[in-house]
Amino acid sequence: MKNTPENNEVIKCIFLCEFHATAGTKIVDQSPKNFISKEMFDKASNYVIPKVQLAYCFISISLNDLKILGYPIRIDNKSYVRNAFYFNLCFVFDNGTRTFCYESIIKKCTEYLLSLELSSKFLSKLDETKLKRLELMLDKIRTDINNYGNCMLRDENNILPLCVVPYYEDKLIEINEMGEFSHKAPVLLDCFFENFTLSSWDLTTKMIVPFINGFRHIDRIAQLADVSVTIVLQCVKHLVLLGVAVLVPAFQYSNIYRPTPKLKLLAKSPEVQERAIAKCSKSELKKAKVRDILMLFASMTHGATLGELCVRFNPAKKNIDERNTVLFGLVEQLIRPIFKYPVVVNKNLFVGYEDMNGNHQQQHSLMDMNSCGIPISNASKRSSFDNVKVAKNSFTGLKTLDEICMRTASSTRQLEEQLACDKHVIVLLK
């Protein structure tokens, strides 16, 4: 799988410096040539060849909008003029770059140079041919890492594979905070299909990709693809980390959405409009109109489910595929979903609607009539009873209705009906 680099010139310069016995700290070679001027190097010299105790640490110094990252080495040996030899292979970046991912490359290269020095005094006894070899090495590392994110360095008979390790910590924390998300649906973004070929992915991804349509939730995908849910969850997690997929709520006509401030982009930006027409139209021949799509998004509000909106607008008549339209809106962040959170409260909410006898039911009872005095059919009562026991604990306000539905294997409508009759549960929309 190819690592697509963001910009071409992340590593601005690579240079090797040493502590020369007579001349002091100086640059042995740099690629490209003359990138670091003498004055700039003098400013940083204290930090690239630092005090004894700081050897074998990653030291990075920022000056003049540049960041220099190095791993200074010190070799103690009586054969050297001053009984010790110091050198440092440094990479130069722009000041704002996150350099954590390059540390392993620097370490590997430095250790290679160290081994060369220990075996054949490569650096301390530098002559024309060795300098040439060094120059080629530095050039190759810099250009390959900048262009491809990896480098297979061949030097004489040695091969050194190098690769940039991307930094995923931030995104990982975000994803872990999401908790259990098997009730959400993954969507594959365009970049998944554009930048990678399907055959370059791992086995699990290849197995589940045919079932990812942006509407199915992970549980269902696992069922259809015959892969264990935990593995599918891991796989989707990786896809989200790599930035080729996002998670959205599973598609249902009972879902509620509302516009975000970004909706004005649909009216302003021709690129967004092009994408909208391409994705939301029912068919290739009959295209949807931007105005209709915008009207649909604008009418989404807390009180209207998607189903109600479809009845009102009849999107099919306007050549709009409502499922793809909603998906488009979510991925482009023009709309956002509203989730329902049931919360248990102590107070009896139906005070005032009690039956005439004034029977104040403190606990959830199974009469033939619910506390509204409306008789409910036996069938729905019985099926909802089993679910009640299971679900009651989840009404903490932290779980959405979707999640509870999936766990208790009940349909949204059943659960909503049951909640409407439950006098101790409030459903919050946010």
């Binding site: 990075s60 000056l63 954590f100 004005k264 248990v344």
Partner: protein, 578 residues
């Protein structure tokens, strides 16, 4: 986010020295004994926390094992690193060693007469994963400290005195190599050391700093990320990281019709401004009212609008206030998406304490669907009820449980044009499309004349449009012009219609209200001013155009065939809550 250590290094003609650092607990010995223990019993788990029992104060602040690395670096190494070359002085100094990032502003004072110099470097050691914005803030703090010290040095030789005190302690205890004792003594004798200690504690706890140097210079500083995080401490999951950039954007987009809501008691406010700003703050607080707009508060308190904006911006930065639209009956509120409402939330208890007998969950459930106070109460009911509901709404706004929704308008005529499938006209792209995508940024300057038209149209005026279809000048007719009489109504209407694009004109003509001159005039005026591009909500239009809500709503209703309305939050003043 909190600093691992504060280090004070000086460099002058006599050489460089690490004068002081805080915290300075020496853990070397404990490490050694622990290692011995480890060898004895391979099954025991060494708890790093046990080693830190030395200093009770430090136990309250959780310190990473990484901090011990600094203790192991000797003072000489650190001083040689931080007593930097003069060429590196007076600019940002940033050095990262393994997991620790050091940031500072080496302040240099050169005395040309005696050819001497003093370089003082107050270095903050942070964890390397700290975000860039936090590093920037620490740099700013170091800069202010350095400059403050140099100022005091010029005025009263404060710095030389303090350095002398510290050096004396270093030399006196030269036989006793435990630097812990040295630093302890310095802490007792030097006011600068005590100042740094206070700084360290404030940074670790609240992120708000108010210290006095040499009893004369006050330094006020705030780490907004930390201050705002303390505000959101009730949210168990996902405390939002408030970047100073987000706050800056919100402050830039302040308008005269905004208001602000204090998040703390007024008595807690005085420590966030230096004494010079206290007067302005007091004047503002006296006229503070969450129901008033900044404009009216500025009028009431005799402060200029500029001063009010600056002070409110300062309070927001210090997490003492938040920007709202002034509370009124018609404001539409809805539950904020990240509001921590669950059965175990501490906010439920807090609410019950403040409003006895009311349950937070029940009250907030009224706002599951967007409603306003006007909807929930009627004047026929007990008037106190409306007041109490308003109090509760204010409480919920303070705790960021509610969010306000505004209505935005987009002009989009519907017409059937055989070739054009987009349903839009070119006149909506008065600016080049690429530019319009990038103008997600709010208005230019809140200080500008309130009648200044918004960004998009002013761009259209500057760019000479090639197409005749773009709107270049204001076509709306002055109502007060007496020379126009009703016989010319048709003429006027025709002129107004000419301001529209050809295809739009068809759509406008279909609207019955377009035959009414006043309605069409107002419509054209508002459209020309750029209000119908989904960037200005109704309240803003009402404020700048001096319209009553009923007038505006009537107009929008009459022209509903060519307009699209939707409700969403005000992105700029929302401080980025997702």
């Amino acid at each position: 986010m909190h600093p691992l250590s504060i280090i004070l290094v000086k460099s002058d003609s006599k050489g460089d020295r690490l004068l002081f650092r805080y915290p300075f607990v020496q853990l070397k010995e404990d490490n050694e004994t622990n290692k011995l223990d480890k060898k004895k019993n391979p099954y025991s788990i060494s708890l790093l926390e046990e080693q830190k029992d030395n200093n009770n104060q430090l136990r309250q602040l959780s310190i990473d094992p990484a901090a011990t690395n600094i203790q192991l670096e000797s003072d000489e190494v650190l001083s040689s690193l931080f007593a930097c070359k003069l060429e590196l002085a007076n600019q940002k100094f940033e050095l990262k060693i393994n997991d620790i990032r050091f940031v500072s502003h080496p302040a240099l004072m050169e005395n040309k007469n005696s050819n001497s110099f003093i370089l003082i470097n107050i270095v903050f050691a942070l964890q390397a994963q700290c975000s860039y914005s936090i590093v920037k803030c620490y740099y700013e703090l170091s800069k202010r400290l350095g400059l403050g010290l140099l100022y005091e040095e010029r005025r009263a030789n404060y710095l030389t005195k303090e350095m002398k005190t510290m050096l004396k302690v270093h030399e006196d205890t030269i036989y006793d190599h435990k630097s812990e004792r040295i630093f302890d003594t310095i802490l007792q004798k030097s006011s600068l050391a005590q100042c740094l200690k206070q700084l360290y504690f404030d940074l670790c706890t609240s992120g708000l700093i108010n210290v006095v140097l040499n009893e004369s210079v006050t330094l006020c500083f705030c780490l907004p990320q930390k201050a705002w995080m303390a505000r959101f401490s009730e949210r168990k999951t996902k405390t939002p990281f408030i970047d100073p950039d987000v706050i800056d954007r919100a402050i830039i987009s302040l308008k005269p019709y905004h208001g602000f809501l204090l998040l703390v008691d007024p008595s807690e406010l005085l420590d966030c401004v230096p004494p010079s700003g206290a007067k302005v703050l007091l004047q503002l607080i006296e006229s503070y009212n969450p129901l008033k707009s900044l404009q009216s508060m500025s009028n009431d308190s005799d402060l200029s609008l500029d001063q009010v904006f600056q002070m409110v911006g300062h309070l927001v930065y210090w997490a003492k206030a938040t920007i709202i639209y002034p509370l009124c009956e018609t404001n539409v509120y809805v539950i904020s998406p990240d509001a921590p409402i669950h059965v175990n939330s501490p906010l439920v208890e807090k609410f019950a304490n403040k409003f006895p007998g009311m349950s937070l969950i029940e009250v907030i459930s009224d706002f599951s669907l967007p409603t306003s106070i006007g909807h929930l109460t009627t004047p026929l009911q007990h008037p106190a009820r409306q007041g109490r509901l308003a109090q509760m709404v204010l409480w919920m706004l303070q705790h960021h449980l509610l969010m306000q929704l505004h209505t935005y308008v987009q002009f989009m005529p519907s017409y059937e044009k055989p070739n054009d499938t987009s349903g839009l006209s070119l006149s909506d792209f008065g600016t080049s499309p690429k530019q319009s995508i990038n103008t997600m940024s709010p208005e230019k300057s809140p200080m500008s004349d309130p009648l200044d038209v918004p960004n998009s149209t002013s761009n259209a005026r500057q760019i000479p449009s090639s197409s005749q279809k773009s709107i270049c000048s204001n076509f709306s007719v002055d109502d007060n012009d007496d020379s126009m009489n009703s016989l010319d109504d048709d003429e006027k209407i025709k002129e107004l219609l000419n301001s529209f694009d050809e295809c739009d004109r068809q759509a406008i003509l279909k609207v019955p209200a377009s035959s009414n001159f006043e309605d069409l005039n107002l419509m054209v005026r508002l459209k020309q001013s750029g209000y119908f591009q989904g960037e200005h909500h109704l309240e803003e239009i009402m404020f700048y155009e001096n319209l009553r809500r009923s007038q505006l709503l009537q107009l929008l209703d009459k022209f509903r065939d060519v307009l699209i309305l939707y409700e969403t939050e005000d992105a700029a003043s929302c401080l980025g809550f997702k």
